[in-house]
Structure formats: structure tokens, C-alpha cells
């Protein structure tokens, strides 16, 4: 089963626990500026939106990489950067339409979300379940259920 990060911005409070957990596991210290997941604050709308790599099937980053440093995990579908191959050319950062693969000055390589090998730290750290890790084929299920619930109140078509 392939799993994906299911993000519900409506539940996000902007606390950045996900960024802290990500930077700790990936960089060894608390450092939001190095986090693979970022929370954006749309202040005037009162909205906070966590955002990270969605692991595209035909990934722009992977296709753009001139040294084949990005591979797909055959089981999870996750795109992984191999540091021993990456030359830090940054072409992938240009190719990615979402900006979710980034260059790290300290290593000279690019970094991106890799689902922590199947047990994402951001999911465990989120206090409001705004980030879940679930079956990629069921990702829309919750929303579907919400909309289905609303149809319960609709009046029958033939009622006067």
C-alpha cells in the first residue's frame, strides 16, 4: 500500500511542531529553516497551511536531474535524493513546480521530504491531526464523507 501525507489546513494552528520534528530528525537540531515541511501563515485570512512534497508519480525533479540522483522507492513511491550522486546543480529546484525540493548550503546537496522512511515525524508531532499519513487511494475519503453528510439535509426532489 502506498501512503501519503494528507494535510488539512483547517486544523493547523501554526505551532510549527511539524517543522521542529522534521528538522530534528533530518538535521539533528531544532531548526525550522531546514525543515522539509513548512507552515505558511496567511495572516489576513486567518489560515495556516502546512506544505511539503507530494511525491509526484512522474516527478519533475527526478526527470530534470542530470545525474539520476533522485530515485523512486518501488514500494512507497517516495522520491529519494541520493547524496552520493547529487552534485548540487539545483536544476531540480527549478523544475519542481511546487518548490518542495530545496538546496542546502551546509551539505551542497538538495533536500526533500522522504516520509522519514515510512514513519513521518511531522505526523507524530502535529497536535491537531492536521497532518495524517494514510493510504494514498483513500486520501479523499474524509472530504467525501463530509460532503456526503451535507447531502443528508437536502430535501427530497419531489417534496412540495
Amino acid at each position: 500500500m502506498q501512503k501519503t501525507l494528507v494535510i488539512d489546513p483547517g486544523k493547523c494552528t501554526g505551532c510549527k511542531q511539524c517543522e521542529l520534528a522534521c528538522s530534528y530528525i533530518k538535521e539533528g537540531s531544532f531548526n525550522p529553516s531546514k525543515s522539509r515541511i513548512r507552515v505558511f501563515d496567511f495572516h489576513t485570512e486567518g489560515r495556516f497551511v502546512p506544505y511539503t512534497c507530494t511525491q509526484c508519480d512522474e516527478a519533475w525533479c527526478q526527470q530534470a536531474c542530470p545525474v539520476d540522483a533522485i530515485t523512486t522507492d518501488p514500494v512507497t513511491g517516495v522520491k529519494q535524493v541520493h547524496d552520493n550522486l547529487c552534485v548540487g546543480c539545483k536544476v531540480c529546484t527549478i523544475a519542481c513546480p511546487f518548490g518542495t525540493i530545496n538546496y542546502s548550503v551546509s551539505t551542497g546537496k538538495v533536500v526533500k521530504c522522504d516520509h522519514c522512511g515510512g514513519d513521518p515525524e511531522c505526523v507524530k508531532a502535529c497536535p491537531t491531526q492536521a497532518i495524517l499519513y494514510s493510504d494514498v487511494e483513500q486520501a479523499g475519503f474524509d472530504k467525501m464523507q463530509q460532503w456526503a453528510a451535507k447531502t443528508d439535509n437536502a430535501a427530497p426532489a419531489n417534496s412540495a
Binding site: 494552528t13 505551532c15 521542529l20 530534528y24 538535521e27 539533528g28 529553516s33 495572516h43 489560515r47 497536535p127
Partner: protein, 615 residues
């Protein structure tokens, strides 16, 4: 490890920014933030200094846990001699600014001297420089925030700034960070303005480490679980914010109303959390849009509100139609119950203005309430107020006065004096509901007796955040005491004061203590920091800090005589509610408090106490 071990010393007179090592001997005694910042201030200034003179210093201090994943670990404090009070001032703020300062690599910034021209401090990691703020002077906090981010093309910057209130000497000006989080009390923004310092802008891309990561991850996770499972921090605060208190405190007969004439507000429900969440009759939308967390906080009590576009306060003013920081309990009380005003949208608007222009809603609302009291008695007239009727309950008047105070014009300039100076000026000092020059917050000492002792002995003047005995007296946390009785309150206040000083100094939010005791906090501090941190050593550090602050005030010229409450609370009994017929029992509690503190009968710490604590 949790400390960056670096201090940034900024001399505004000389225009220099110099890095120096943190004094680790002091850090191990005073922890950080409030405690450590106060220790530095104590060592570096004469407590008798004029708060607004270049000789006063101002310290932005983070705690050792600030910037870590411990819940609520994003806080910083501004420590200085307070403009409003002349006492030690330590104003604590959340948002993201404190953590960002830590990520830039700094435990603390010490500002000294005074700049000849307006400047702002720009910190990008280890690079710090003073830049001209001449183009920013006169701008609001919000416009300053936007202008600095644009100038540096750094949307991820976090900024703490003063507005016009701080520039022009409003005595209770705040320093506002992240648009609506504030180091709010005692006039720390006034001090910043007196130094011609408009803002501090920070971008940090470094990491914060702790001494023992595995132990820290384990203890912080356990802490978060406690917060999540607690009814207050896990349910009430995220859903209702601190505003959950409005109806509860009103029912307890401890909601100060119309400048403390009454202890219950007949319209409390109209300005409560419940009212904020309910769809408005006017446009069908609720005032409350969502909740927001400060950095690293798993409680998320912050309010984000939206005012009805057709409300009289914002008609034709689209700049106020977006989502903004909404009412917290203290602000809703000061702008509402204290003034007898029940228009929730008008209170929200006044609260926006406090953030936009940088002045403390508690002191503003309380000062306005005192002015209304004087107007009601005929001491103030329309001639004094520029033609405005200062009537209890008038939302139009509140909006007008909040606008004038924000830009320091008309009667707003008088209100910017603060309640004590205003009431003295018009010959009615007894109508000022203050201790050591600072306005009361939202708990009536007649209905919650422990809060009377809290206010009277608070080192920064009347304040609820120095010992929140409401927890015990109303909510039974950690154990229930009778709010109407003075029995045992001396010990209770001391315990809350010492524990709170430790929580503040660690870099955590005091709201965690609805669920956490020092037993929950100690393992987190101990895993993060060098030294041996247990509940006992934290409590002792808290007591050390409290006595040091007391010493600052004694050296500044305060004495036991200043540990007093206004006559109204000592002579006029509560008219309604559970406390009906009661006045404050401060006279009974104070001598007992001095005794449990190890102070002499004049309120001076004994040699024995000071040497026990190593002050």
C-alpha cells in the same frame, strides 16, 4: 547546550553591535529570560535611574527552552526599568519572534544608551546592524512590519516594533511582535521609544540544540500528552481562548466592572468567548474566525477575529476587514467590563488599535474607566475631553478614545498618562485602580482574595501573571482553596510567584501551569540544560529571582508601604455575588506573606533569606 551562550550588546549611542559570551555562572542560577535578564539589568544599571533616560537599559531575553520543541517554548521577555511604574519591568511575549532570535544564535540582546536618530536593529543570523528608521518613524506597528520585510525582501523575518504610542511617550506603550503578540505591560515600549529604537527585525537559520536529545524528546512528549489530556489546556483554551474566563469570573463575583465600582457585569455574556463563537445577528458570521498557536505551542489559545464589515467602527475602512488578533480575556475585560461596554465588535476594534499602534489594552481600558469615573463625578467635563462624553457603556466613545490614544492626539494624550498620573492630575488619586503605578487586570480582589495579595506584592505592579492564584481559588488547580477566605493565601501566593518565575525563566508559557506542575517541567529543563534541574531547584531559582526583583525595587525607592491596594477595594464592599459584603483582606495576608517570604516586617528580605538563596 540549550543556551546559545551568546549575547548581543547594542550601544545605541555609539551605534555599535558587539557579541559577547553569556555568563554561564549566572545562567545556572537564574536560568534565562526573566531571571537571567533581570540579573544582567541588576548588575548593569542603577535602580534609581530615570526609566526614560539613556542610562536605563533594555534587555530582550530568551529562555534556554526557547526555540525547542517543548510545548510553548517560543517566549521571550523584555526586561528594563518600567516607564509606567519605575519598578522592575519584565514583559513576556509569544508569537515567533523569541524563537527566531534564538535561531539567529542569540540568547539575549542588551540595548544601552540612546540613538541620536531613529534606528532599527536588523539581525540576520550572526550579522547585526543598526539601520536608519527615519522612514519608519510615525508608522504603525503593522506598517513597520510590512515595510521592513519588503526592504529586506525577507518575508520570513520576525519583527518586534513600537508604534506611535511608544514613539510619543504613551506611558503604557507595548512592544508588539508578529503583528499581534505583545510584551505588553509596564511601558516597555515607552522605554524603547525613548531610545529612538523603532524595531528589532530578526531572521535566524541556525539550529537550537539541547544537552540530551533522546531524554528531551521523551520528556517533552510526555509534557505534551499532559497538556492534551487536561480539560483546560486540551479543550477549553483551544476552543474558547482565555475568554473562557469571562462568564466564570463574573459568576464568581470577581469581574471588576465600571472601574471596580461593581464586581459583576450584567452584560458579561455579550463580551464572552461564547459570544465570540456565535454567529452575529448582523451578518450571520461569528466574530471568532479561528485559533492560533504561538511558536511550538500545542495549546493554541490565540484568537483570530474578523469584525463585521458594516459595524460602525470599520465602515469604509477595509484595512480592518481582514483577520486580525482577537480579544483575549484581559483585553475584553479592560475594554469592556471595566468600562461597562458590551459591544463585542467595538471591543475587537479597540483591541486591533492597541496592536496596530502598540499600547497595552489592560492599562488603556483601566485608565479610560478611571477617566469615566471622574467624568461621572463631574471632575472631568466635556471641556477636558474635547467634547466627548465619557459615559460608562458608550461603544462610540471607546472607539474614538482608542483612535486618539493610538495617535497621541486630543484627550488620547491624557489617557496615555496611565490611570495613576491621570487621576493625580485631576486630584482624585484614589480612583486609580493601580499598584506601583500599574493598572489592575481582570480579577477583583474582593471576590478572589489571593489576587489582592498578588497585586499588592507583584514586583512589576498590579499583575495577574506573577501569581495566578485564580487557578487554585476558582479552578482548584493544583488544589482548591476558598476564594473568599484569606486563610493560607500568603503561602499560596508565594508558591505561585516562585513557580511562575521559574516557568518564565525557562522560556515557557505560564498557561501550561493549568496542567503542568514543576514536576512536569523539570525533566524537560534538565534534559535541555547543563546543571541539575529538579522541581526543587526550579522552585529555588524562582524564589531567588523573586527576591532579586524585590531588591531591585527596594533599591529603586519602593518599600513595604507600596504593597497596598486602592481604598475602594479595602473600604467599599462588593455589592453583589458570592463576595457580597466583602472587602479585600490584604491587611491580614500581608504580614503573613512577609513572614513566609523570610522578609522583615517592613517587607525587606533578611540577610538570612538572601544568603540562603545566594542573591
Amino acid at each position: 547546550m540549550a543556551w546559545t551562550r551568546k549575547i548581543l550588546r547594542v550601544n545605541l549611542t555609539e551605534g555599535t553591535c558587539v557579541s559577547e559570551p553569556l555568563n554561564m555562572d549566572w545562567a545556572l542560577k537564574y536560568l534565562g529570560q526573566r531571571g537571567l535578564g533581570t540579573k544582567y539589568l541588576m548588575e548593569e544599571i542603577d535602580p534609581k535611574v530615570d526609566p526614560l533616560s539613556p542610562d536605563n537599559k533594555m534587555i530582550f531575553a530568551t529562555g534556554p527552552l526557547t526555540g525547542t520543541c517543548a510545548s510553548t517554548a517560543g517566549r521571550y521577555s523584555v526586561i528594563t526599568k518600567g516607564a509606567l511604574t519605575g519598578a522592575i519591568a519584565c514583559s513576556n511575549s509569544g508569537g515567533y519572534f523569541g524563537a527566531e532570535l534564538k535561531f539567529a544564535g542569540w540568547d539575549m540582546i542588551i540595548f544601552e544608551g540612546k540613538s541620536e536618530k531613529p534606528v532599527y536593529l536588523c539581525i540576520i543570523d550572526d550579522k547585526a546592524e543598526l539601520l536608519s528608521a527615519e522612514g519608519l518613524w510615525g508608522k504603525s506597528v503593522w506598517d513597520t512590519d510590512a515595510a521592513i520585510k519588503a526592504a529586506h525582501q525577507e518575508p520570513m523575518m520576525h519583527i518586534a516594533a513600537i508604534g506611535v504610542a511608544g514613539e510619543k511617550g504613551n506611558m503604557y506603550a507595548c512592544i508588539v511582535n508578529d503583528l499581534h503578540r505583545a510584551a505588553g505591560r509596564s511601558g516597555v515600549g515607552t522605554v524603547m521609544g525613548s531610545k529612538n529604537l523603532k524595531a528589532v527585525a530578526v531572521r535566524g537559520t541556525g539550529g537550537v540544540s539541547v544537552e540530551d536529545f533522546p531524554a528531551f524528546m521523551k520528556s517533552t512528549e510526555a509534557g505534551k500528552r499532559v497538556l492534551q489530556e487536561n480539560a483546560v489546556t486540551g479543550e477549553s483554551l483551544p476552543a474558547y481562548g482565555t475568554q473562557v474566563l469571562m462568564n466564570v469570573i463574573n459568576e464568581s463575583g470577581a469581574l471588576p466592572t465600571r472601574n471596580f465600582r461593581d464586581v459583576q457585569f450584567e452584560s458579561a455574556n455579550d463580551i464572552s468567548a461564547e459570544a465570540m463563537a456565535e454567529p452575529r445577528r448582523s451578518d450571520g458570521k461569528p466574530n471568532l474566525l479561528t485559533n492560533q498557536a504561538c511558536f511550538s505551542c500545542t495549546i493554541a489559545c490565540g484568537r483570530i477575529s474578523q469584525i463585521d464589515k458594516d459595524h460602525f467602527t470599520v465602515v469604509n475602512k477595509p484595512e480592518y476587514w481582514g483577520a486580525e488578533g482577537g480579544l483575549e480575556y484581559e483585553a475584553a475585560w479592560a475594554l469592556g467590563a471595566a468600562t461597562g461596554i458590551k459591544d463585542l465588535e467595538a471591543l475587537t476594534y479597540a483591541n486591533y488599535l492597541c496592536n496596530e499602534h502598540g499600547y497595552d489594552p489592560i492599562s488603556f481600558g483601566s485608565t479610560l474607566a478611571a477617566a469615566m469615573d471622574m467624568y461621572d463625578e463631574g471632575i472631568l467635563t466635556k471641556k477636558d475631553t474635547g467634547g466627548v462624553e465619557l459615559k460608562f457603556g458608550s461603544a462610540e466613545m471607546l472607539a474614538k478614545m482608542a483612535e486618539l490614544t493610538g495617535i497621541m492626539e486630543g484627550f488620547g494624550k491624557e489617557l496615555a498618562l496611565g490611570s495613576k498620573r491621570l487621576c493625580e492630575k485631576y486630584g482624585r488619586p484614589e480612583l486609580s485602580m493601580t499598584v506601583k503605578g500599574q493598572e489592575f487586570p481582570a480579577y477583583d480582589p474582593r471576590g478572589i482574595q489571593g489576587m489582592g495579595l498578588t497585586y499588592a506584592t507583584s514586583n512589576r505592579g498590579a499583575c495577574h501573571l506573577r501569581s495566578y492564584t485564580v487557578s487554585s481559588e476558582i479552578f482548584g488547580i493544583p488544589e482548591k482553596t476558598d476564594p473568599l477566605s484569606t486563610d493560607g493565601k500568603a503561602g499560596l501566593v508565594k508558591a505561585f510567584q516562585d513557580a511562575t518565575a521559574a516557568v518564565d525563566s525557562a522560556g515557557l508559557c505560564v498557561f501550561t501551569t493549568f496542567a503542568w506542575t514543576l514536576e512536569d517541567i523539570a525533566p524537560q529543563v534538565d534534559a535541555a540544560c547543563e546543571g541539575n534541574w529538579t522541581a526543587d531547584t526550579l522552585m529555588e531559582a524562582g524564589e531567588r529571582i523573586w527576591n532579586m526583583e524585590r531588591n531591585f525595587n527596594l533599591a529603586a525607592g519602593f518599600s513595604g508601604k507600596d504593597d497596598e491596594l486602592p481604598k475602594r477595594l479595602m473600604k467599599d464592599a462588593a455589592k453583589t455575588g458570592p463576595a457580597k459584603g466583602l472587602t479585600s483582606g490584604l491587611d491580614k495576608m500581608l504580614p503573613e506573606y512577609y513572614e513566609v517570604r523570610g522578609w522583615n516586617t517592613k517587607g525587606v528580605p533578611t540577610e538570612e533569606t538572601l544568603s540562603r538563596l545566594g542573591v
